[in-house]
Symmetry: C2
Subunit: 397 residues, 2 copies
């Protein structure tokens, strides 16, 4: 039986206490402490639950690779082309790169990841296989969910649907989708296909929806209709949902009510350069919201390291948050609410939960969001996996 005692830590900023972890889980308050177990002095540090990355692309970052000069054109289609071309040209290996990102973000306290992974008629399911290899190799370090993601379009590229089905049979967890009108040019058929697939395979759905204004809102209505019709409440997530940051307030609230009723969650990266869902209003209206970094250092975007604590700060700033309670809510979107949106079992700091946690030097959760301090300690299922921002006992190729 593995055991760990964290002395003098403050869970979510409450009074300092000692935390006993037995067999990878938080022990009950009354549990007696086994003699001679590993003990770490937390020195009054703030203890947060493991950070949850609800949206990234593990298969195609450029971490640890030479700097790539970005000369992308302005359209999403330019980036899709560049992405497919450079993956081959640069030899972006999905197994290696996913391992690098997973280890890098583990040292930043990210203990669970949902990754979209490209499936297309050029790369086939090779990226799925690569990220599955990482998932297996690092299974004790980080929980990885894999979305079979038709990045290059699905209906517009014959054969993609069959490849997505193959990905699901291989072990992908979730059916992905992408801008049903803007990319696939046929919102109804795109959504019918992916919801049909989810229904047949018994899998959840996660759809990239960048479509703006009323076009995005219409796609969202179609998603709500299909979620209800197929009884997929609680198993559908819309990623980005830019349109919610643009439409009229009354229309927004009515659409949000539809999302809440259908149990559809919304993921945001708090994008500074795009319209963004207002997470507090959505939460008030009963919509489950969560946060993700999207891809760090890649051909899509050059920014960042995949730090979900920094992401909470960016989401906070994008939403105009300055009050402590709002910063705490931004952090919730990157922890507890993210875990709920991803359906992670036994998540949290309560007894019986999986002991995934992060220690930082901060008085309160709000200060942790505002300052983005170094992660002093990261624990995954009761095992120390990082100290002072660097991985411990785990490395990437």
């Amino acid at each position: 039986m593995t055991a760990l005692l964290l002395k003098n830590v403050r869970p979510m900023g409450v009074d300092a206490t000692d935390i006993l972890i037995l067999d990878g889980r938080f022990a009950d308050a009354g549990e007696s402490i086994p003699a001679g177990i590993e003990t770490i002095d937390g020195d009054g540090a703030l203890m947060l639950p493991g950070l949850v990355e609800a949206h990234t692309h593990l298969d195609k970052n450029l971490i640890g690779m030479p700097w790539w000069r970005n000369q992308n054109g302005p359209h999403r289609s330019d980036r899709i082309e560049t992405d497919r071309r450079e993956k081959k040209r640069l030899g972006i290996d999905p197994a290696r790169q996913s391992a690098r990102q997973a280890v890098q973000t583990l040292a930043l306290g990210v203990t669970a990841i949902r990754s979209h992974v490209d499936v297309d008629t050029e790369i086939g399911t090779a990226s799925i296989a690569g990220v599955m290899a990482t998932r297996e190799a690092y299974r004790d370090m980080v929980d990885i969910q894999i979305v079979a993601f038709p990045q290059s379009g699905m209906l517009i590229r014959e054969g993609t649907v069959a490849l997505m089905e193959e990905a699901l049979r291989m072990g992908a967890d979730i059916v992905g989708g992408l801008d049903p009108a803007e990319i696939d040019r046929d919102p109804v058929r795109h959504l019918d296909v992916i919801f049909g697939m989810a229904d047949r395979f018994g899998k959840p759905v996660d759809i990239h929806l960048h479509e703006l204004g009323e076009l995005g809102a219409f796609s969202m209505e179609l998603i709500i209709e299909r979620t209800r019709a197929l009884g997929l409440q609680g198993r559908v997530l819309i990623s980005h949902a830019y349109c919610l940051g643009m439409i009229e307030p009354a229309r927004h609230d009515s659409l949000a009510a539809g999302l809440a009723e259908a149990g559809i969650a919304v993921m945001t990266a708090g994008p500074a350069g795009f319209p963004a869902p207002r997470i507090k209003r959505l939460h008030e209206l009963g919509v489950l919201v969560c946060g993700g970094c999207d891809g760090p250092r890649g051909t899509w975007s050059p920014y960042g390291r995949g730090d979900m604590l920094e992401r909470a700060a960016l989401i906070g700033q994008r939403n105009g948050f300055s009050r402590d309670e709002d910063l705490e809510f931004a952090l919730e979107a990157c922890t507890t609410l993210g875990a709920r949106a991803l359906g992670l079992p036994d998540y949290g700091l309560g007894s019986g939960c999986k002991a995934d946690l992060v220690l930082v030097d901060a008085e309160t959760a709000a200060e942790a969001v505002a300052d983005v301090p170094i992660r002093r300690l990261v624990v995954k299922s009761g095992r120390v996996v990082a100290r002072d921002g660097a991985p411990v006992g785990v490395s990437a190729p």
Copy 2:
């Protein structure tokens, strides 16, 4: 004569070279290297010019103070009230806090700062005196410009104008202004008073303009008219200029032409939660743009450390930049263009310029913006002032 040799550094990413600094300035290429001078191996690091903070509030941050629980109301007026109250209640000492921020940001490579400093009928000119003390004490470490800033309003608080004049006589460098319509409720008279003061004292002007849409655009027109009438071209800066992120494209471009012709610069923090000027379009239209962090960790906003390299990344993201040339432009706004907007003499990496520089581990300037690496070395006027993110030979109270 002080002398320093930096070996094996890459100025702005060009081929590695050795850089000789004599008497605080970059030496000519042909200059012979004095025997036995201090030599630092740059190990191929990227060399950037000193970062320029074009907009902050040195007098009222909370750096090094206990975490302050932000419960501000939603309006700017709520924050102004809170600010004035908490300055007294918490004992926010302007000399101490300005020194703390200056030293903290020096370690991040910021070698020049323009700070707005509050002048009001409660605090009088005490904050001006405090920041002036820091300016004097740290004069060899960082260049500080002081704006006499009527944070609580000017016309609406009898006696403020006389205090601003007192501040200018004491040694403030610039006449400040604030939302002439929204706060002072009389845009024409507010601007007449501050431009009159600038004219009489022979000082530049720097106006906070948060006013939205056409209201802000109207205030901007009034600023352009007064700048031209008084011959203040090249000596007026508009801070924030949110309205430029909201108005119709044709109106935007016409207003930008007016700004360009009147030689009025625009400062942006790239605010994720507010409308923001599009700096590339403004630059194309001939408007001088620059970047600033605004206040780190304070009662206005809890975020950040005043890092101008991170700010370049935030400005880049706010402007939707992903191409390398655009990231480089965001960095320019926080270096060269900032220096121009602030009228800093002898700024840059050319021979004869003041040797203010930063070394970072990055292949290119774009990578430095995307990754925000630790500052390996900071040099101010030829003297090493920080290494590996920590100040050297300089500390704050």
